[in-house]
């Protein structure tokens, strides 16, 4: 029978055992690695040289991997016979190399601040390939309007403000998308998280009337949504709602034909789904006191025990998510529209609409890692192994975002796997940061390392380019913020440059043709 047989009688239920006591080896959560990232993490000499020269922590980004992701998303468009554009949501990573490299691909750029817009323009994105989303100040609106970037408007008031700004400054007409939210459902009531963004669907008529009134200065290109959910159903409802909204716009004589479905396609972080299942089951058992502790101070990641009953909700990203990224987009487009009855891709294609997407995290999937030097390894009297790093939880913020993966050990040169016998075999370790704060833990669970690390080894936090790399990093306690290195591989040979030095056309080097 089944995969798992659990002897649940309390008399035989172990609450702890010598094998699983403190210091025991935790269950693995191996990160999913694909080339070129997997290969890069094998380059011990290169990685150690880089950290020695540039310090710890050190961010690595892989522009070529991002280009591959662009191709994957565009392939989904092709498979469904859809036209439109893929926008990289810049907020996922501030690297210049990634944005400059993307400028050399067919991708476009979604920016959410004045700095990001300037960065995009400077990286080679012409304004017709830029879209401004999110909260916007007058400076951002002015620069967008001045250059001609698409403005994804967030409220009725913003439509009026933008029209007023264009008139006041005699700017050219601005292309506009209208971001919608709170789409109606039929039959059941779908509860939704309150969103601070977007125009309530019930105010659509007001927004469209305003766009008709200002049609000389605002050119409505289409409608948009972005829902912070991994649930397909809510997005299916929203996409159909957008198609219906476009029809309203066309009925008013507006030339609107874009549906922007935003991002939130997600990333599959773990190599093996069953590791995730085993780990979360073990966490449940630990929270209920029926299994060995596996977290710092009994941290439950949102779960708690009330009289032996499990309460709360697991506050973790579903790290094993086979349906993520381009595959998630494919599933969305293949779904049937709830009221119109055709597959959503067919509905878009038949309506002659363009599909825009804004992947962020999924666009930088497998496109980076953060390296950190091991400074100290010690054991507590309770048998826990503590590993202190030259980096902190803001430099590598996976824990903040609830993404759990084991780091990859990159041993120092000369520290071969055949070291002292007591260092052999996998160990569990809590990762301590370099801030003088109790709370600065890079992991509140014991991570699994292939063997006991030693000072001078590196830990590589793989696949962290989306939101976990430098999103939260700062100079607290005068600790350094990581530098970023862009790595490329040509015919098997790795080349690198500082992020700010990277351009798709590299400078001439000795031996290269003039």
């Amino acid at each position: 029978m089944a995969t798992e047989t659990l002897d649940a009688a309390p008399s035989t239920m172990p609450t702890s055992s010598p094998v699983n006591g403190p210091g025991a080896v935790p269950l693995p959560l191996d990160p999913l690695l694909t080339d070129p990232l997997r290969d890069l993490l094998q380059e011990r000499t290169l990685l150690h040289d880089l950290v020695r020269a540039l310090g710890s922590p050190l961010n690595l980004v892989l522009p070529q991997a991002v280009a591959t992701n662009v191709d994957r998303f565009r392939a989904v468009y092709r498979d469904h016979g859809l036209s439109g554009h893929v926008y990289y949501a810049h907020k996922a990573n501030r690297s210049s190399a990634l944005v400059r490299h993307l400028a050399s691909t067919p991708a476009r750029l979604d920016v959410a601040s004045l700095g990001e817009l300037q960065h995009g323009l400077g990286a080679g994105f012409t304004p017709d390939r830029l879209m401004v989303t999110g909260p916007k100040g007058p400076e951002l609106l002015w620069l967008a309007a001045r250059t001609g970037a698409v403005v994804n408007v967030d409220s009725v008031a913003e439509i009026a403000a933008l029209a007023q700004l264009v008139r006041a400054h005699g700017l050219p007409a601005v292309p506009v998308l209208v971001r919608l939210t709170a789409f109606p459902t039929s039959g059941t009531t779908m509860l939704r998280r309150t969103s601070r963004f977007g125009i309530d669907h019930r105010d659509l008529a007001t927004a469209l009337d305003l766009l008709v009134e200002h049609r000389d200065v605002l050119h409505m290109r289409g409608v948009a949504y972005h829902l912070d959910t991994i649930g397909l159903d809510e997005k299916i409802t929203a996409l159909e709602g957008c198609v219906l909204a476009l029809d309203e716009a066309v009925r008013r004589g507006l030339d609107a034909r874009v549906v922007d479905v935003g991002g939130g396609f997600g990333v599959d972080y773990l190599a093996q789904p069953d590791q995730w299942e085993a780990w979360t089951s073990a966490l449940t058992a630990a929270v209920l006191g029926r299994g060995p502790a596996m977290t710092w101070d009994g941290h439950g990641y949102g779960l708690r025990s009330e009289n032996g009953v499990l309460r709360g909700a697991l506050g973790l990203y579903p790290a094993s998510r086979p349906l993520a990224g381009p595959r998630y987009l494919d599933a969305l487009l293949s779904a049937t529209a709830p009221t119109l009855g055709r597959p959503l891709a067919t509905l878009l294609q038949e309506g002659l609409y363009d599909l825009w997407t804004e992947p962020g995290r999924a666009m930088v999937d497998q496109a980076g890692a953060v390296l950190a030097t091991v400074l100290e390894v010690r054991d507590t009297p309770t048998g826990h192994c503590l590993v202190r790093l030259a980096a902190n939880a803001r430099d590598i913020s996976t824990e903040d975002h609830g993404v759990l993966m084991d780091p990859v050990l990159v041993p120092a040169a000369g520290r071969e796997p055949d070291g002292p016998a007591q260092d052999q075999g996998p160990v569990g370790a809590y990762l301590l940061g370099n801030l003088c704060l109790e709370a600065d833990l890079l992991s509140r669970r014991a991570v699994r390392l292939p063997r006991r690390p030693a000072p001078g080894d590196l830990l590589a936090f793989a696949n962290t380019a989306g939101y976990f790399m430098d999103f939260n990093a700062d100079h607290a306690l005068h600790q350094p913020v990581a530098r970023t290195v862009a790595l490329t591989r040509d015919h098997g040979a790795w080349d690198w440059s500082l992020d700010e030095q990277y351009w798709p056309a590299p400078p001439p080097t000795a031996g290269s043709p003039a």
């Binding site: 998280r193 299942e277 089951s281």
Partner: protein, 440 residues
């Protein structure tokens, strides 16, 4: 048998002996408790009625709403009972995974609130379980709800301590079974029956079945989720085994095709789990052994679940001569007209212009003079033969000219003499600036 209330028909379900040829156990008599024969179709009828029977008349007088956290049989039973007593019913659930049940609940008149999916960007301050959420709703209310609280309500269990369990003992001639096997959902039926059987004879072995973690079996919780249930006590079970969705469907098929029991997947899981468990030591049994499992509910509500996981079970023979049979070569041989050629041909030959797109897209904009026959309808129409005179010229139109070529090839294959396709479809037509009209 004459009843005054439909709830009087709850309980006293048959205990069916499964043919040994079906389960293959030499030394065990295996019985199925047919809870699917309750009036609303499931074992939950007992718990639902027992949880509301004491309060429902008062609740009806006060105009309260029955509320429960359920997306399945409990919601169905409660909605029907509430309706029969003139009360509204409201269900708060995670996303409904089985569309037939959702439709059925709407048909019964239930109000359904589905909770949002997990956030893509983690907000550690947000996120609470549905149980906590429903309690928050109830705390904020001022007595307008009758909350049945199935995961914690002892009357859920009591329905089976007093009903299901004693019925099994009585039907076995006063001898309880040696082994009892049940799936764990709210744990109400398994706990209740186990309690009754143990009181009768403490030697009974109780097996709880949970879903394998990566699988979804309607009505069964997985090995982690059972711990969220207030009625779940690990001490109830001598063994807890996991069943996969595949195994549940195997068991369900056996019950349906070989036993004449129209069981849903949960009953299938119980049957499969029972046979697997009993097989392990069947050859060591001294004399005869008796085992009972519960068939919780019926198959009809799970057809889409079956279609998703085992489409071959519901397959219909492929239709010959449909558009799916058109080869790429056939499609390539169809005359494909550019926009200019098409406009000229329309003027000269007055072909019938058929737009194969969906009606919504057609209504938004289409070629002047065209008629809308949606592709799937067109496919049906061609089954009996040509839906248009064989000599009447036809221009087929789709979004990009791909589907229209296939349908034109289909027409030609069936003897049509002049079916053509608009190359590049409506997209090319629009991009060329050719006229489009709108009907709404």
């Amino acid at each position: 048998m004459r009843y005054d209330s439909i709830t009087d028909a709850i309980g006293d379900t048959p205990l069916l002996r499964i043919d040994p040829q079906v389960h293959g156990l030499e030394n065990t008599d295996l019985y199925a408790k047919l809870e699917l024969l309750n009036p609303f179709g499931s074992v939950k009828d007992r718990a639902a009625w027992n949880m509301v029977r004491h309060d429902i008349d008062a609740a009806a007088r006060d105009g309260r709403t029955v509320v429960e956290l359920s997306s399945g049989n409990t919601a169905k039973s409660l909605a029907l009972i509430a309706g029969a007593h003139g009360l509204p019913f409201r269900s708060i659930t995670n996303r409904m995974k089985v569309p037939e049940i959702k439709d059925l609940l709407l048909l019964i008149g239930a109000e359904i609130e589905e909770l949002p999916g997990q956030a893509e960007c983690l907000d550690p301050t947000a996120g609470d379980d549905p149980l906590t959420r429903i309690h928050r709703v109830l705390q904020a209310s001022e007595g307008e709800y009758l909350h049945t609280d199935q995961y914690y309500n002892p009357r859920n269990t009591a329905a089976h301590v007093e009903g299901t369990g004693p019925e099994i003992i009585k039907d076995l001639g006063g001898q309880g079974p040696d082994v009892f096997i049940a799936c764990v959902g709210t744990a109400g039926s398994s706990t209740g029956v186990a309690t009754a059987l143990r009181e009768h004879d403490p030697r009974v072995q109780v097996v709880g079945l949970v879903a394998a973690k990566s699988d979804f079996i309607p009505g069964i919780r997985n090995i982690d989720e059972v711990h969220e249930v207030g009625l779940f006590d690990p001490a109830t079970y001598d063994h807890v085994d996991a069943v996969s969705a595949d195994q549940a469907l195997d068991g369900m098929l056996t019950l349906i095709r070989r036993c004449g029991v129209l069981s849903g997947p949960t009953g299938g899981a119980a049957f499969h789990g029972a046979v697997e468990h009993l097989r392990r030591d069947d050859d060591q049994v001294q004399g005869r052994r008796t085992a009972v499992f519960i068939v919780c509910d019926r198959a009809e509500s799970y057809l889409s679940y079956v279609r998703k996981r085992r489409p071959e079970l519901l397959r219909r023979p492929a239709r010959a001569g449909s558009v799916a049979d058109v080869t790429d070569e056939q499609a390539a041989q169809v005359p494909a007209l550019t926009v200019d050629q098409a406009r000229q041909w329309i003027t000269e030959a007055r072909p019938l212009v058929v737009d194969l797109r969906g009606s919504f897209a057609y209504a938004t904009q289409h070629l002047p003079g065209s008629v809308n026959i949606v592709d799937e309808v067109f496919d049906d129409l061609t089954q009996a033969g040509l839906p248009v005179d064989a000599d009447q010229p036809v221009l087929l139109v789709c979004p990009v000219g791909e589907r229209s070529a296939r349908y034109a090839a289909l027409l030609r294959d069936k003897g049509h003499t002049d079916a053509r396709s608009l190359a590049g479809g409506v997209v090319a037509w629009r991009d060329a600036g050719a006229p489009m009209v709108r009907t709404r």
